[in-house]
Amino acid sequence: MSAEIPSNLPAEAIRKLLLAFADDELMLGHRDSEWTGHAPILEEDIAFSNIAQDELGHSLVWYTLLEQLTGRSPDSMAFERTWNEFTCCHFVAYPRGDFAYTVVRQYLHDAAEQVRLSSLGQSSYSELKDVAAKLLPEESYHLMHSQGLVERLGDATEESHSRMQAAVDAAFPQALGLFENLDGEENLVSANVFPGNEHLRTKWLEKVVPVLDAASLQAPVEAKNGRIEISCEPDYGGRHRSHTAHLKELVQDLQKVYRMAPSAKW
């Protein structure tokens, strides 16, 4: 796979885009892995362990593509950067919370991935298009699973409903951070590399709001002139490396073993 960016495409912005994808997947994969051995039932233990492994695999693919552009290895990207060098959104770094929060976060993320990866099928940067086509079917298993849980838990019992609603209240503004503008994004859009975060966010809202609604869960949005408008403050900052203390704690945990013996061969 030769990944060289054609000279007519905005190389710097493409690297930022890939980095955001990679960092998001790495952090969510790590948070998902925290359920291994702790999920409420065995099937969910297996599910979240699998999903974690997939997300970490996806971060590896994005970091590998970046390596071909920058020469820096995936291990170095994941284990040798300091926490304030990452560009993940806040959303993926928050503690795993209770299982309702985990399910809602996973669902909001998986739906965003579906929208994002599908749209990259039209990308003018062919490597991006190929990787997206590879990841999309894998992600669709995550979405089927997390959406199924949202549908069942949203109005199953009074307790499940109130926990799920609290999770939506917390996670929805955070999830909007997935669509925070990147520096140079307008160049990506005009070069047809990426359709733009605003476009993706609209598609995502059209996808998730009806599902939440059908599960008796209220998202912080309003219908205005046939459009879904957000009525909460998005949790931004991550794409510009302004992070919460939760990321610092996560990165410490993630890099602990590696930093004990950086030259060890596994």
Binding site: M1, E43, I46, A47, S49, N50, I51, Q53, D54, E55, L56, G57, H58, L60, V61, S126, D130, V131, A133, K134, L135, P137, E138, S140, Y141, M144, H145
Partner: protein, 163 residues
């Protein structure tokens, strides 16, 4: 030129012996993980496509390919990864599916791109062929499997996930 063709054949013959580390009755060639081989001067390039990108067995597979080719006398070995087209269970032929079944894993249904539809279709038990089965877990012991249960012979079995 004739020499090159011979080398390529020899390399394929060797590669066809490498078993999938998670499903030892199948080879990496049958699994379509090994996609193509190019020989140029002293350099051998093997193009592989990962099943699931997070599959932890990928490194073991790459090591095995390298060591087999080294034993064959190849000095410059180059492993390339391709996602174009992405690996899919649609690539597995009938013989491969039958081998999976005889190993106790229900083969992946053909899906033509619609994964959700395959989840609704019946999955015959690889042991007794009954269609009275149900999914226990949409994720399984490895990234490529799901867990099913047969209501007829009362055994649980793995199903290879359609991808």
């Amino acid at each position: 030129m004739a020499q090159q063709t011979l080398d390529e054949k020899l390399i394929w013959k060797e590669l066809e012996k490498i078993a999938d580390p998670e499903i030892p009755v199948l080879t990496l060639v049958e699994m379509k993980v090994i996609r193509s081989v190019r020989v140029q001067d002293n350099q051998v390039t093997v193009v592989i496509s990962p099943t699931y990108v997070g599959c932890p067995a990928m490194d073991a597979m790459k090591d095995e390919i390298r060591s087999r080719l080294r034993d064959l006398g190849c000095e410059q070995i180059n492993l390339e990864t391709t996602f174009a087209p992405p690996w899919s269970t649609e690539m597995l032929d009938e013989t491969t599916r039958e081998k999976l079944r005889s190993f106790g894993i229900a083969p992946p249904a053909k899906h033509k791109g619609d994964l959700a539809a395959t989840l609704a279709a019946p999955v015959p038990c690889p042991f007794c062929h009954s269609e009275k089965t149900h999914m226990e877990s949409s994720f399984g012991p490895t990234l490529c499997r799901q867990i099913y249960y047969c209501d007829t012979c009362r055994q649980s079995f793995d199903r290879f996930k359609p991808l």
